[in-house]
Symmetry: C2
Subunit: 243 residues, 2 copies
Amino acid sequence: MTSQAADGPGRGLHARLLARLGPAITAGDHPPGTVLLTDELAEQYEVSRTVVREAVRVLESMHLVESRRRVGVTVLPTEQWNVFDPQVITWRLAGADRPRQLRSLTRLRSAVEPVAARLAAELATPEECAELTEHALGLVRTSRGEQLENYLVHDVAFHRVILRASRNEMFARLGDVVAAVLTGRTEHEVMFSDPRQEAVTMHVQVAEAVREGDGAGAERIMRTITEDALAELDVLAPGPTAP
Amino acid sequence: MTSQAADGPGRGLHARLLARLGPAITAGDHPPGTVLLTDELAEQYEVSRTVVREAVRVLESMHLVESRRRVGVTVLPTEQWNVFDPQVITWRLAGADRPRQLRSLTRLRSAVEPVAARLAAELATPEECAELTEHALGLVRTSRGEQLENYLVHDVAFHRVILRASRNEMFARLGDVVAAVLTGRTEHEVMFSDPRQEAVTMHVQVAEAVREGDGAGAERIMRTITEDALAELDVLAPGPTAP
DNA sequence: TCCGCAATTAAGTATGACGATTTAATGTCC
DNA sequence: GGACATTAAATCGTCATACTTAATTGCGGA
């Protein structure tokens, strides 16, 4: 339903080219300042100039490259990259500076999700409250044994509902990002084989708080959850300085 | 230096077409479900199909439209729009549901900026602290009389520095968004002709807190600032339900 | 040395043709 | 008469090519 990792090759030659060029650039192949030439790309990837140009247009809209006459397609410095673009996020999560990316995103979660939880407590519909409870119980059920797959499903769904119930379109749009982070954490990083019971408990508590309209409570608990996720990240991949 | 509203027509026919199509779609002209035809667009805007196709590719990457064979270019439902794309934000801020957009963004600010302020207090360089103080003083200087223009410059710069000093690339990237919100507020909405002295004072306090490494303090004061901005919105444009 | 003009280069635009794919209409068989 | 297969039409997708535009380079003259 909610497209996410379905951003694979996609249909169309240009999409497939994009799926090769984007990761190549974000991975640090073609470092910033590199100049790519349309004709060379066309030859290299065995597609027409038209296709290359369309892919470049998209990269340009992500501020990954800049196309200028008589110069070529220049890779832009990373500070200019539109790091909020889901595609860019996906590419970077799959690439080399994955830890850095994961940290940035988790920090973003720690800022947004508590506020979203508060709003959800004030605005969630009965249906959403039910969904929340359901997924919280799902977490409880799957927190023991080797059910990481199912645990992840409920975890992602839970946070999605929170973000959606906040009735803020920006927050809701972060559902895919959160899903990517949670999925990525389970996939690549060595996650605790047994999800921590404290985390499970807190999810249940958030569901309760939302159901009871306790905004402050929901926010407080969610803040703990996300701060824990941040701390967890430091344990698993201790980096030097990365907020 | 920091491109932002410079996203005007841009160079190239395709960019100019984008600057016309994007706003048209986000403004609700061509409502979701509408089918546009490449050839018609080409004729209507007096450009070649090549140009139309490149513009459509960009709109497609923003999830504003979907292009399918034998169907045409379909406008997607708003829930799928990539509302974090700076271009989309700009278009929507200029369009009809501007109040709604302003509210969403201000809420986002209220979530992110306090956390950014805390991080800034922990990580800001001496240079950044100096910049912060400078702009805070600039706010004090321009808060009286008819100097809204200059006040805005310092306001935008101040928040930009906070976001940048947080050393989080996602946060830093929101600098443009904040700039758009603050600028928009001053431009269109009837802003207080005299910026509130309390706000000015709080900015000075944030600068102090950051300088002294008081993360908790910086976060607390920034939270007040952004919550006030939210309340201000409700006063100026009282909407029914919009987080 | 500096200024300006011309040549060069690569992206930008336009057009025509063909292929691929999806939707719809048609027709056939049961 | 309805279900399914076949055919047809419409539109995007891709390609090749020719031409245009802009920017950089470099040459030559003042």
